[in-house]
């Protein structure tokens, strides 16, 4: 009897196509591309502002208002909502469980607390931005 274990290869490039669970994970991780894009956009906007002239800033604002960019921003918002906000809030109770005495606090309350904090922070940012 000789041992000759067989190792099944795992593709380094297409492994996440194996099941729906991995695909959702990759969709969540892909939000990093959008984060990267918005980092550059912020730097670009700051550069336009630092340019000193009203014209450079106004042209930056105008560039963000053309229909392609508006659609892109709307897409990003929805993508972030699904794969960043919802996905991470769902996972939050795993990273920060709470226990009082012998009882563990139900996941629902931890997730709900996140949504409440999110709503308050969003309202604060809207207030800062002068929306209301």
């Amino acid at each position: 009897m000789s041992r000759r274990p067989y190792v099944r290869p795992m593709s380094k490039t297409t492994w996440y196509m194996r099941n729906g669970r991995y695909k959702v994970y990759m969709m969540r991780e892909m939000t990093c591309l959008l984060v990267g894009f918005y980092s550059f956009l912020t730097i670009f906007g700051l550069a336009a502002l630092a340019g000193g002239s009203a014209q450079s800033w106004n042209s930056f604002l105008a560039s963000q208002q053309n229909p392609t960019m508006v659609i892109f921003h709307a897409f990003s918002l929805i993508y972030f909502l699904i794969y960043q906000t919802f996905a991470w809030f769902e996972l939050a109770p795993k990273a920060m469980p709470l226990q009082f005495g012998e009882k563990r606090v139900a996941d629902f309350y931890i997730v709900a607390a996140h949504y409440i904090a999110w709503a308050i922070l969003s309202a604060f940012i809207f207030w800062l931005a002068g929306v209301f």
Binding site: P5, R8, M10, R21, E29, E102
Partner: protein, 245 residues
């Protein structure tokens, strides 16, 4: 009881004959309340005595009958045919080398379970009355992590382990967490060197598949994320105290 005919496509591999695994099809008359393990036992007893696989208790305790059922890692004693289509593909657990047929090589994880020092480590001497007391609240902090039966279904679900098996992996890490959370244990900082190392908790990118497939609701992904937070806290504590902590 009603019978149902199931077609089982079972992965076969004989290290002395085969260069690669292949699938053999069996037609199995199943009772409606059978688990897949019953169907595999039927094959072994009635159709093909050469089929190799592991099982023992048939009641989700021994953790030896984990396999891929239609691509999903699970205990075959817990996967019932009433929840499956007429054609079922049975493979050995993913991410492990195949020893023979449905039997995988477990040496790597067995060694990893030891690496995390899964036992109570004391720095202070034991209490004078030689008995460690623990409140129920303290027990409940880690109880869920004691439920692991080492079936390694979580390793089969983990793409990080599949891509690079130097990762300590879900079951061994949650076992470490179980002892870190134990009020009687004082070995947390000793374990941290292993857990916060390159192949420890930071190799986990929180796919979360381990927790979804776990037959005992151990939730290894939770254990790993909690250890990441602990590790980061410890890192900053040491930085801020000038490395003396």
């Amino acid at each position: 009881m009603n019978q149902r005919i199931l077609e089982l496509e079972v992965m076969r591999y004989d290290p002395e004959k085969d260069t690669r695994p292949w699938f053999q099809s069996y037609t199995v008359p199943c009772e409606s309340d059978w688990a897949i393990l019953d169907a595999i036992n039927y094959i072994k007893e009635n159709l093909d005595t050469t089929l190799s696989y592991r099982w023992s208790c048939h009641m989700m305790v021994c953790g030896s009958c984990g396999m891929m059922i239609n691509g999903e890692p699970s205990l075959t004693c817990k996967t019932f045919i009433r929840d499956l289509p007429d054609k079922v593909r049975v493979e050995p657990l993913e991410n492990f080398p195949i020893e023979r047929d449905l039997v995988v090589v477990l040496d790597d994880v067995m060694q990893k379970l030891q690496v995390v020092q899964p036992y109570i480590i004391r720095k202070d001497p034991p209490p004078a009355d030689q008995e460690y007391t623990q409140s129920r609240a303290a027990l409940h902090k880690f109880k869920q992590y004691t439920m692991c039966i080492n079936c390694l279904v979580c390793y089969a679900a983990c793409p990080q382990y599949g891509l690079d098996n130097s990762f300590i992996g879900p079951a061994a890490l949650s076992l470490a967490h179980r002892y870190n959370l134990d009020s009687r244990d004082q070995g947390k900082s000793q374990r941290l060197d292993i857990l916060a190392d390159h192949d420890g908790v930071w190799d986990c990118s929180f796919v979360g598949a381990c927790s979804e497939v776990c037959p005992k609701d151990v939730d290894p992904a939770a254990a790993i994320q909690q250890m990441k937070i602990e590790g980061a806290k410890e890192f900053w504590k040491q930085k801020l105290s000038g490395g003396k902590s």
